[in-house]
Symmetry: C2
Subunit: 336 residues, 2 copies
């Protein structure tokens, strides 16, 4: 009898999640019923949004319940099927959770098209990450050739794609990242025009120097003082895209909001939030465009694969918040 | 020889302006040169934005300089003219400043059309106040019939018009105002559907009760905790219009921004700022529409006229911040 090891929420984390917040459980892999199939996990996506799903407060998705398998996007192989649309051997993308096996009826599951990209790309550039960058920048940021586009967490999964898409759209791109190594990376490897280390002093001055005509599009993944500095540097008619606030997710007390929000008035600017799920009907078209740019080498899709087991989930998750990784962070649970 | 008494900025106020921040000066009224005319002031507009003009920091207009006549919109009569477009006896609207007489070349000056409204209406419902309400609500708020529209400083010059325009557009309107008297006023006199006293405890709960389906349009004149509470109560796709932040203007230390801004993401909402001057090309059309609603009694234009001299300017200005007035606040300097 095959066992399924799953990672379940044992208690709600206070601040940064620790191993004791999780329960590792092993139970027999259930057989798929009629219209169902069983997936064996290969690659599990790590996303900053996961932290928000652990808090018991209303949001765009219900919080993960105590005792429930941790929610996660993942890639797996269909190993047993009673579903006509998902044959054994198919590689699929879905919200399968942090576990070795999942049974699905196919709702919200996507077949990986190997002509478009590799399975890991379906978690990164062709997955929620790349689609978030694409729709957030194009639909809300509305970049025009010549615009100055600034993106925070620029070496991260979403930020790295946003900056490259802005370059494809003829913009001047400034990345904000933590540390000189990441700053060099986004300029040298990803083709950003310049980068600012937010850990160095003088962020506001550095932004003003890098953006002498102000920021036309600011794509925010971090919140906190970086967002506030960007709001203080807007060009007339600027678009501020709120994608995330990773600097805030583990805060144990509510952090102050951006005191510079009145710049929206002075600069006649707009600050908008979005969720990529609202654009699901357009995913297919966007994936094709993103895959073509990758094939044309106009877009590179950095990813960090960490080999391990589902029990390593918490350790790998923390890399998102310590800023240790570049690009899309993935837990690779394929047997060595 | 006629003297012109003017109110000039003596020093920059720290917090709430005091009389010692101003210098009252009397000097001969200058004769108009070719292409110029002299205006004798009748009505001087008091606006929350005035406080921002006194601080030495970059904004949408340069700060009033030390020694300069205080900037103000005003209505006056042309008493001497060498300008073909502005005859003696004409009633005009312009940024004439807090003084008894001004010389102008006509730039930015509007002739009061008595068929549209009274001179005081040209400072209120047909002036910057009414136009701000009109363009902010219609262009940024984009109200649709059935929407829940919430407006802060609801008994104020702009808020009172915003709420009535939202009613004209078929919306359900909730006002936020200070004290039970103002709350009763906006419901009983202005036709709002309900009102919330922000000085009473439980603002967030009161908002949630008044807006069971969330806020579709929030028009903010106050900033601070009221803005934050509204951000926590947004409906999907909400539009937040940033018009002012009167609760912040006299703050001596920077106040925190709205910590609930991440609701913009969860609710796929937009927060935008604007300045009415950007819509100058459309003022004429908007004035006609506003005047027609007033004539049809669909719109009342509350105003508070305070009789006095230009030397009373600071005392009258403070009424804006103490919340003592209803509707448009005007200093009436016409000789009794």
């Amino acid at each position: 009898m095959t066992l399924n090891t799953s990672v379940r929420l044992a208690r709600r984390p206070a601040g940064m999640p620790v191993n004791d917040d999780w329960l590792i459980e092993a139970a027999p892999v259930p057989e798929p019923g009629p219209g169902e199939f069983t997936v064996r996990m290969q690659l599990i996506s790590l996303d900053p949004a996961m932290r928000g799903w652990l808090d018991d407060r209303p949001s765009y998705l219900p919080p993960v319940a105590i005792g429930e398998v941790m929610r996660a996007m993942a890639i797996g192989e269909v190993v047993s099927s009673q579903h006509s649309g998902f044959a054994e051997g198919a590689i699929v993308l879905g919200t399968f959770g942090v576990q070795e096996y999942a049974v699905s009826d196919g709702t919200g599951v996507t077949l990986v098209n190997s002509r478009l990209g590799t399975p890991s790309m379906y978690l990164g550039i062709l997955g929620t990450t790349g689609l978030t960058a694409y729709f957030g920048l194009m639909e809300l940021g509305k970049p025009r050739a010549g615009d100055t586009v600034v993106v925070s967490a620029a070496a991260g999964a979403v930020g790295s794609v946003v900056g490259q898409l802005a370059k494809i759209n003829g913009c001047r791109v400034v990345g904000i990242a933590g540390g000189s190594e990441k700053c060099a990376y986004v300029v040298d490897e990803l083709g950003f025009d310049s980068a600012i280390d937010y850990k160095a002093p003088g962020l506001r001055q550095a932004l003003a120097q890098a953006c002498p005509d102000g920021i036309d599009v600011y794509f925010d993944n971090v919140g906190g003082p970086v967002l506030n500095a960007a709001l203080g540097t807007l060009a007339m008619g600027a678009r501020v895209v709120i994608c995330g606030a990773i600097s805030q997710y583990n805060a144990e007390v509510a952090t102050p909001g951006p005191s510079n929000y009145m710049s929206l008035l002075v600069r006649r600017a707009t600050m908008s939030g979005f969720l990529v799920f609202d654009y699901a009907a357009e995913y297919r078209t966007a994936r094709k465009r993103l895959a073509k740019w990758v094939a044309d080498e106009a877009l590179t899709a950095p990813e960090t694969l960490v080999t391990g087991t589902v029990a390593d989930f918490n350790d790998v998750l923390l890399r998102l918040f310590s800023g240790d990784n570049v690009g899309k962070l993935i837990l690779d649970v394929r047997p060595g």
